[in-house]
């Protein structure tokens, strides 16, 4: 586990319950934890089902990164929800997109739900980079480039 400051640990302890609530609400009832973990893994995040469960219960030990929050929302078609905005605020993060922009992204994601799974993942990986504004390195999985 990476070394963390006491202050950082204390801050995460103070907010992780609320972060868990937000994550659970973003996932909603229509998507299982296993499905979400699978989709996030395909996007390049090393998140297992047990990690999804722990984070949702506010038991995640490591603070959730901006990339994981956005990836989580992307997999749940929940970019435009108030929950993501709240989570970003709690984490002290911000994205340069308006609420209207986020709605448009969700619409785009839903529009391409009919595509094959592999094609959807290619599109989502790229959308993620456009959302976060980080240029991907060719060939390397996303998690290696971010974390």
């Amino acid at each position: 586990m990476p070394e963390r400051d006491e202050v950082q640990i204390a801050r995460w302890d103070a907010i992780r319950g609320r972060v868990g609530d937000g994550l659970r609400q973003m996932r909603g009832h229509g998507r299982s934890q296993a499905q979400l973990a699978y989709e996030m893994d395909e996007l390049g995040f090393h998140v297992s089902q047990s990690m999804v469960s722990r984070y949702e219960q506010g038991q995640g030990e490591v603070p959730l990164s901006l990339e994981r929050m956005v990836g989580w929302a992307l997999c749940c078609d929940a970019l435009s929800t108030g929950h993501l905005r709240e989570l970003l605020e709690l984490g002290g993060y911000s994205l340069p997109w308006t609420v209207g922009d986020m709605k448009q992204f969700d619409l785009l994601l839903r529009k391409f739900r009919a595509m094959s799974r592999a094609d959807q993942m290619v599109l989502r990986r790229r959308m993620l980079w456009h959302l976060l504004g980080v240029q991907p390195l060719s060939g390397a999985p996303i998690a290696e480039r971010v974390t």
């Binding site: 448009q104 094609d119 959308m127 456009h130």
Partner: protein
């Protein structure tokens, strides 16, 4: 983020200028190189290694830039077609703010709206003309500046304005009618249109 509509109008104009000068020798590999170079020159980031299963290519645009993702599995001929469709899409298609994606398939595919269906069909037809180096088999406004439909007070300006109206009509129906696209892509029709253009605008046959 401030959406910039991807400076698409400027990009369109520059693509049209370069398309007219682009050589065609029938070699798909060289065609891919040229199309890719054209896109990259326009600031479109190209990736030939996308692991796409059904789609041939994806054009993704946002305030962060434009990306063309082309399927790794394609052979040279298919890749040339895919790049041609992306270029055609940039000229014909409507990209929406703040982020939009267009998916290119080899054959007809599921689309949500009638407008998208029409756009896909026009893009596919124009891409065939592009890949074959036969720009004249598509309406001229798609690849060069043409006279405009305006008020006319002299016989010459009336002729040019009539020509402008015809180009508008042609562009409109090319985007909407399968029958017109088929008709417009015939060599004999294209030659007849060229003669009419020269008749109505004899001083500038190239821009007629």
């Amino acid at each position: 983020m401030t959406a910039n509509v991807f400076e698409l109008d400027d990009t369109r104009r520059q693509i049209r200028d370069r398309l007219r000068a682009m050589p065609h020798d029938g070699d798909p590999r060289a065609g891919v190189r040229r199309m890719r170079a054209l896109l990259e020159e326009m600031g479109v980031k190209c990736d030939d290694t996308a692991e796409l299963e059904d789609a041939d290519a994806i054009l993704l645009t946002s305030g962060r830039g434009m990306e063309a993702l082309v399927a790794y599995r394609l052979n040279d001929g298919q890749r040339h077609q895919a790049y041609s469709r992306i270029v055609a899409r940039l000229i014909i298609g409507q990209m929406h703010e703040p982020m939009d994606a267009k998916i290119e398939y080899q054959s007809k595919h599921f689309t949500i709206s009638r407008q998208e269906k029409e756009e896909d069909a026009a893009v596919a037809k124009f891409a065939i003309a592009l890949a074959g180096g036969n720009l004249d088999l598509a309406p001229r406004p798609l690849y060069e500046d043409v006279p405009k439909l305006t008020l006319a007070f002299t016989p010459r300006s009336a002729a040019r304005s009539t020509l402008g109206g015809m180009h508008l009509w042609s562009d409109y129906w090319y985007r909407r009618s399968t029958m017109y696209r088929w008709w417009r892509s015939r060599r004999d029709v294209s030659s007849a249109i060229k003669r009419v253009c020269v008749m109505l605008n004899p001083r500038h046959p190239a821009a007629a």
